[in-house]
């Protein structure tokens, strides 16, 4: 008798679970059949060639439909461009807060709210490089229908500089911009103190605030810190507009009817998945269309599913060894350029890349600017793997193993270097491999790992790099203004960190007057060819002096499910063409 009951219960349970599972299937969607907007041409000589703005006026063939799901491994701090510089926040702005121009998948500039990219030829850039005249699109509108005007630019400038707002960064407006004025509703003039070479990647690129929404808030509260708009920016400029943000869970953007290009998707759903392995499982199961920050050892497994591709896009990042050459804190051996050269020669970065990563995706570069062509030096090759020569150099420098313990020494000091990095699995593995490679030439390694917030902590917080408690520090770095090559604060003499200058950005303690002069000069060189030449010199000096040792190029690896079409990732602005994305039926 009781077996009957059990049997019924069991079958009910099975049926219930099947019903639940069936509810979970994603609904099929229609695909509107419109042409994608006019393609952009690859840059001829300059990286910042003006191209056609996206075609605006064709009426859509069908209503926007379909949902694209993206996983983020970190939740944005804030959506407001003023209060965060977080990457995960700035990339969402390509959906809802596009700026004057964006950067396509070839890192060429594409005008969005600007009518055209200002150049010397069209009079946008003055001859002396100190004045920028920006013409805005006449039909540009905010998502609530209000027109977008030059007053919004002026308002943004004033808000960033106001000391009533606790903004994250005032770069470059505080130090480099003299004034921003609205000549008329559709023309703005930006004046610089000195010719400012990185203007294309840093002036109003995607941080424009709506004056008509926020000016009243500022007037009423005296600050924008607590504005509702920071948490729920319903008014923006982009093919999508903000719909919902549930803390810890998801972000939703819906199609913007007031944008001059009709998006094909109805909704973009961003889910926060902090764990890498869980993200991988979600990609494999098809629970997400776009995944972020994959590593090369996942490519094979993901592409084996048959409906996932892993495009790789350079965003200027390269895994780099920063060598401590500060005489007060570094191991005495580090101050000798021949020892640094020996370290480079003793490390087989090539087999590390071949075995632990993918040579096609992460080749070993020669300099820091591998990801920002055309500034990259064309002729420099990375130091080869030559342990014999490393041994010779070390012998010549006076480091010999006098006490037979396997590590070299000199004047009673053992050649044991502090090799520090974060706790990422890949880096810990590289540390173990490198330790063994160095041991073969007699260099000892003390391996230390720190969590991110401690590793990158400042001088006051006792961050290991900032206080100089390291010899070789490994992490992935890119020029801050990608695709602009600007990265000077790492190596300027004036930026050396110390008790008197705790916020200095030069944690290596490197000071070379020749390099210093070049770094300062390039920041105001507006002539592209001249700037390229200066960077070649910069790279040659850094290469010869072994200031850094490059490990591998670190492009962004995305995962893309075939269900979502039309996506072309860009290095600087990954989601630049979200209006063209559509979902397969």
């Amino acid at each position: 008798m009781k077996y009957n009951k059990l049997y019924i219960l069991l079958s009910l349970a099975v049926i219930a679970s099947m019903a639940l599972a069936a509810c979970g299937a994603a609904p099929a969607t229609e695909v509107p059949a419109t042409e994608p907007p006019a393609a952009t041409e690859p840059p001829a000589t300059e990286p910042s060639v003006a191209t056609e703005p996206p075609a605006a006026t064709e009426p859509p063939a069908a209503e926007p439909s379909g949902i694209a799901t993206i996983t983020f491994t970190q939740e944005p701090d804030s959506l407001s461009p003023m209060y965060t510089s977080m990457w995960f926040s700035s990339i969402t702005r390509q959906f809802w807060n596009q700026g004057l121009w964006t950067f396509d998948d070839k890192n060429g500039a594409v005008p969005i709210l600007a009518a055209e990219i200002p150049t010397v030829e069209n009079g946008g850039v003055s001859a002396d490089g100190k004045t920028l005249t920006i013409k805005l699109r006449e039909d540009a509108k905010w998502s609530d229908g209000e027109p977008f005007t030059a007053n919004d630019l002026v308002f943004t400038y004033n808000m960033i500089l106001s000391d009533k707002n606790t903004v994250n960064s005032t770069y470059p407006y505080a130090d480099y911009v003299a004034s921003v004025e609205a000549v008329d509703d559709h023309t703005a003039v930006v004046k610089f103190n000195e010719p400012f070479a990185p203007w294309l990647t840093s002036i109003f690129v995607s941080d424009i605030l709506p004056e008509h929404v926020l000016q009243p808030v500022f007037d009423a509260e005296g600050t924008l810190d607590n504005a509702e708009w920071n948490k729920a920016p319903t008014v923006g400029t982009g093919p999508f507009m903000f719909s919902e943000w549930e803390s810890g869970s998801h972000l939703i953007f819906k199609a913007n009817p007031n944008w001059f290009v009709q998006p094909k998707l109805e909704e973009v759903f961003i889910r926060f998945v902090p764990d890498d392995a869980a993200q991988e499982a979600a990609i494999l199961a098809g629970d997400t269309d776009i995944g972020v920050f994959l590593s090369s050892d996942q490519i094979e497994k993901l592409e084996a599913t048959g409906n996932v591709k892993v495009p790789s896009v350079s965003s200027g990042y390269a895994e780099t060894w920063f060598l401590n050459v500060n005489p007060e804190t570094a191991h005495p051996a580090m101050l000798d350029v021949n020892v640094r050269k020996a370290i480079a020669l003793a490390t087989d970065r090539f087999s590390i890349v071949n075995d632990l990563l993918l040579e096609s995706v992460n080749p070993v570069p020669a300099t820091v600017w591998v990801g920002t062509p055309p500034y990259n030096h064309p002729n420099l090759e990375p130091y080869p793997y030559d342990p014999e020569q490393a041994k010779e150099l070390l012998d010549a420098a006076g480091w010999i193993d006098s006490n037979g313990d396997g590590t070299r020494d000199k004047e009673g000091v053992e050649l044991v270097l502090r090799y520090v990095t974060t706790t990422r699995e890949l880096r810990k593995n590289v540390q173990a491999v490198v330790q063994q490679q160095w041991a073969a030439v007699g260099i000892g390694a003390e391996l230390r790992n720190f969590t991110g917030d401690i590793f990158f902590g400042g001088y006051a917080a006792g961050g290991p790099m900032a206080i100089g408690d390291y010899d070789v520090a490994e992490y992935s770095n890119a020029p801050t203004g990608f695709p602009d090559p600007e990265a000077s604060s790492n190596w300027l003499c004036s930026e050396i960190v110390s008790a008197d200058n705790p916020e200095g950005g030069n944690w290596q303690g490197y000071c070379n007057p020749e390099l210093d002069a070049l770094l300062i000069e390039q920041a105001s060189t507006v002539d592209l060819n001249k700037r390229i030449e200066q960077y070649q010199q910069i790279q040659q000096i850094m290469y010869d002096d072994v200031v850094v040792i490059m490990l591998w190029s670190d492009p962004d690896l995305w995962s893309l499910n075939d269900r979502l079409q039309g996506v072309r990732f860009s290095g600087a602005m990954p989601f630049w063409n979200s209006a063209e994305w559509f979902v397969e039926p």
Binding site: L356, E425, N429, L447
Partner: protein, 324 residues
């Protein structure tokens, strides 16, 4: 004759055993405890004598190595090989032999597990006993301290320990192996953050025990406090203590895996079963040998200790219903 018959009677009478001898006998008869003991002896052999398996040719160094050097020998061209004759347990992400790493890793994991468990049980039992026996403000103070400790997340302590004390504690040399100060920190932190549970349980137990008649009787007879605590209350609270201790060892070994998962585990290239599991995390499907072997070893350790714990509890409990 009468004398010889008396002698026979005496010799055929049962000899009465002392309580400890009785306990040992009961333990030996406990089937699962013997299985557990066997498992632990095998494991102890594995991590000590197993070092003889740790030898081979290390291509990057270009010579034969043995011992811990072999366990740390990484040859990236041999990465992620499934079990084979040369590497019976396969190789890991950078080509290290997993068999050798489980041997050396076991040494550290068991060290951490046992030390942390001993510390947590000793501390917890002591505090629980004293708090329950004396009651009043002593009880209050100790339990409030326990509550305060409960609210401090061990994540914080781990981060702080890793940050400030890793360099301050020198490397220790234990049985020929050089251990970083990190290991001590992990043991201390796991111990310091787990004693509260043992203390609560012991206290709860002793609170009911101290009202028993034999306790008042002892006091009436003039027994000192420590005699009552250690002589009467402690033995009667043995059962939950043993269970806590056995769960504590297993918990400490697993905590070490959790600590490695958060990136705060044993530093350097040293293996432990916990950080081997953590390294296997992203290769769950693609390289099951990475987690299978350390996981199974952890399982055997947990099983062995728990069976022994069962046996000990039965053997030491004077009111146990198990017949000899």
């Amino acid at each position: 004759m009468a004398v010889s018959s008396i002698k026979t009677n005496v010799s055929s009478a049962k000899v009465s055993l002392s309580p400890s001898a009785l306990a040992v006998r009961r333990f030996r008869k406990h089937r699962m405890a013997m299985v557990g003991l066997g498992l632990l002896i095998l494991l102890a052999l594995y991590i000590t004598a197993g070092v003889v398996f740790s030898h081979g040719y290390c291509a990057p160094i270009g010579q034969d190595v043995s011992g811990e050097s072999y366990a740390n020998c990484n040859d990236t061209s041999l990465k992620l090989r499934s079990p084979s004759a040369e590497h019976p347990f396969g190789t890991d992400v950078i080509g290290r032999d997993i068999l050798a790493r489980t041997v050396y890793g076991g040494q550290i994991s068991l060290l951490i597990g046992l030390s942390a468990a001993i510390m947590e049980v000793a501390l917890g039992a002591l505090i629980g006993l004293i708090a329950a026996y004396y009651g009043g403000w002593v009880d209050n103070l100790l339990m409030r301290i326990a509550e305060a400790m409960l609210t401090i997340p061990n994540l914080f302590l781990l981060i702080i320990g890793a940050r400030f004390f890793t360099n301050a504690i020198p490397n220790i040399n234990l049985f020929g192996r050089e251990l970083t100060g990190n290991v001590i920190i992990i043991i201390l932190i796991i111990g310091f953050t787990s004693w509260m549970y043992v203390a609560r349980i012991v206290r709860a137990n002793v609170l009911s025990l101290r009202e028993q008649d034999y306790v008042s009787a002892s006091r009436a007879l003039g027994a000192s406090d420590s005699r009552i605590i250690f002589g009467h209350l402690l033995p009667n609270t043995i059962a939950p203590l043993i269970v806590s201790a056995t769960l504590g060892v297993a918990g400490a070994i697993i905590s070490e895996a959790y600590v490695s998962f958060l990136g705060l585990g044993v530093q350097g290239a040293t293996a432990t079963w916990g950080n081997m599991l953590e390294g296997a995390y992203r290769y769950l499907e693609t390289a099951p040998w990475l987690w299978f072997f350390p996981g199974t070893l952890i399982l055997f350790t947990v099983l062995g200790i728990n069976f022994i714990g069962d046996g000990l509890r039965d053997a030491l409990d004077p009111r146990s219903t198990r017949h000899i």
